[in-house]
């Protein structure tokens, strides 16, 4: 990952944090140049593209598309890619927050307040199905 790639990544993330949505390639420069850079960042696991459209799918821990994990932090609602990323949104924003999801088993709502990096509900359980060495085999499934 060279300096230009890091700069494109920085501008992509800053757009998301500032606007609450992922940028279109044209909003950051010439579409062709931006998409080529995004593809390199995707290959380096620095962001995730939708391979069919070359649009942003994940700016981890944020999701660019609606998911089951919503987080209210820093004055805005965000989508996270999973439970780990939901806490990661608070961590990356350096903010307290509220996570809303549902239990995959029964569908009952789950709400967690995060204050000073700690959860207010210690009864919940976090489960990872895919072994770490395979997380990036299919990051959307993971």
């Amino acid at each position: 990952m060279n300096g230009a790639d890091l700069d494109l990544r920085r501008r992509t993330y800053a757009f998301m944090v500032d606007n609450g949505r992922a940028p279109q390639a044209e909003e950051l420069g010439t579409r062709e140049d931006v998409v080529v850079g995004w593809r390199r960042l995707h290959d380096a696991h620095a962001l995730v593209l939708n391979p069919a459209t070359d649009e942003i799918r994940m700016l981890n821990p944020l999701s660019a598309v609606p998911t089951a994990y919503r987080v209210h932090a820093a004055g805005r609602w965000w989508y996270a890619n999973c439970a780990w990323d939901a806490f990661g949104v608070c961590a990356a924003l350096h903010a307290d927050g509220r996570i809303e999801a549902s239990c995959p088993d029964c569908g009952e709502p789950i709400a967690v307040e995060v204050r000073d990096a700690k959860s207010d509900d210690e009864s919940l359980l976090f489960h990872v199905l895919v072994p770490a060495r395979h997380w990036w085999d299919d990051i959307v499934f993971t």
Partner: protein, 69 residues
């Protein structure tokens, strides 16, 4: 990577499949803050595999399941 209401809910959801890795929410929050803290920094540089593995190890997430590629 999901949150479950309890072990009973997790086991029912697994439906006989082998469980993966399980932690408390307290540990998940520690993990997330160690892993993602710098992600929006303008000075961010990629973590190395060794750095990320050290985060997992420091929280006791060791063993073959938690070994990164």
């Amino acid at each position: 990577m999901n949150l479950f209401r309890s072990e009973e809910h997790l086991q029912r959801w697994l439906g006989g499949r082998e469980p993966g890795g399980t932690t408390s929410v307290a540990k998940l929050s520690e993990l997330a803050h160690a892993w993602w803290d710098d992600r929006f920094s303008p000075d961010w540089v990629p973590h190395t595999r060794e750095q990320n593995q050290a985060i997992l190890d420091s929280l006791g997430l060791s063993g073959s399941f938690w070994q990164l590629a």
